[in-house]
Amino acid sequence: MRPPSPSIPEKEFVFDALKHSLRLDGRLPLEMRTPALSFGTELGCVECSLGKTRVLANIDAKMVKPTPERPFEGMLSIHSEISPMAASEYEIGRPSEEEVTITRMLDKVLRRSDALDKESLCIIAGQRVWHLRLTLHFLADAGNLLDCACMAGIVALKHFRRPEVEVVGDEVTVHPPTERAPVPLAIHHTPFCISFAFFPDPSTQPVIDPSLLEQRLSAGLMSVALNAQRELCVVQKLGGVPLAPDDLLAYINVAVAKAKELDVIVEEALKKDWSGRHVEVR
């Protein structure tokens, strides 16, 4: 069920306020909502929230036979269907434009950027590899599901521990977590996605981490995925709003600063959670 497009007073008010660099929730134009990460009891289960936008990520692993084209690599599959729980306009089975964008972006940011070392997931070449399944549940949409989903995904990958496996010749012994401490995944780098929303009036500055109304009223969206080491993974620009090269570089620099902040927040949250966990090894 599509909601009606924003009313004229809402539209005019938001554009007017943005001309004066005012946002409805009192944020500065280049201020992100502070992310909050809460971890579940299982390893690899994390709920990420940006203000009222909430996404839950869950990882499980099972051992499978690898594809014949890539016998030395494990597999990561991402499931990100938006259900009406996020907002009443989403339907299962009929991907909205936003859902398609999110699925493509997650694929580029988490799989194609080589954040996860797939070769480390190999147990016996050609016979047994780990298949990781990342499932994202979109719990609430208050704008910017994409950034929230990417963050939830990468944090879940960093949080997850797979069971330790011992290979003697052709025999594989999987040690349950109660016997041997589970092993973290090999993550090369931590990419974060930062989105900018552009508006029809060219004199209005773009805003970072748009809220729901700002996203609906935007003329174009640009998402930049990069890590704290200033390495760009993805630059995606939708909508056709013209952007000068100098401005683009300036916004990417803003995104670098945000990525560094997010990195600090994520590392702290992971450390705090890990120190609170009691992993017993007999």
Partner: protein
Amino acid sequence: MSVVVPGEHVPAQHVNLKLGPGLTQSSSSPTVISTRAGTLNHSANRSKWWVESNSRRYVPAPQESVIGIVTQKAIGSLVYARISLAHKDMEPELECFDAQTRKSEGFGELKGGFMVRCSLSMCRKLLDPNHFLLPLLGSQIPLEVAVGVNGRVWISSKELKHTIAISRCIEAVDPDGEGMEEKALRTFLGSLDA
């Protein structure tokens, strides 16, 4: 004042029993059953009973004032209207004037300003003349407000910053959000840049 869940039997008995929102009487037996989760209330003489609950989804009922967005002809304009006809199987009908006085009485198109979404119980609080929020805001910022019981509130004031401040205060006091009390809200309002 007890908490009830849907399907619970409610001991409501009176000669002139009037059932308010959240209660229904099955056609066969005289038992009264609640249809919503919330607190059960009744009037002093026990003739009127109702269930107070909070939700964000509005179900139209006649004689209620709501804010709607026009979808045909003048697309996108906001109107403040009264529901004249509401049936669960049909689209509700609205009218933009008061049925008794045949005058507009503030109904009609709402120009300018901004619209905020909130929960249904927040709307009822705003319509209550004894609630602290609107008089408190009105004493500091000149404002115009139209409250629709469908979860939408139209606000208008001279400065953009003031309108933003009012919108944030409504969201802060909303029981769905933070549910701030008067004292906390005064501190919050003071901290806003207005």
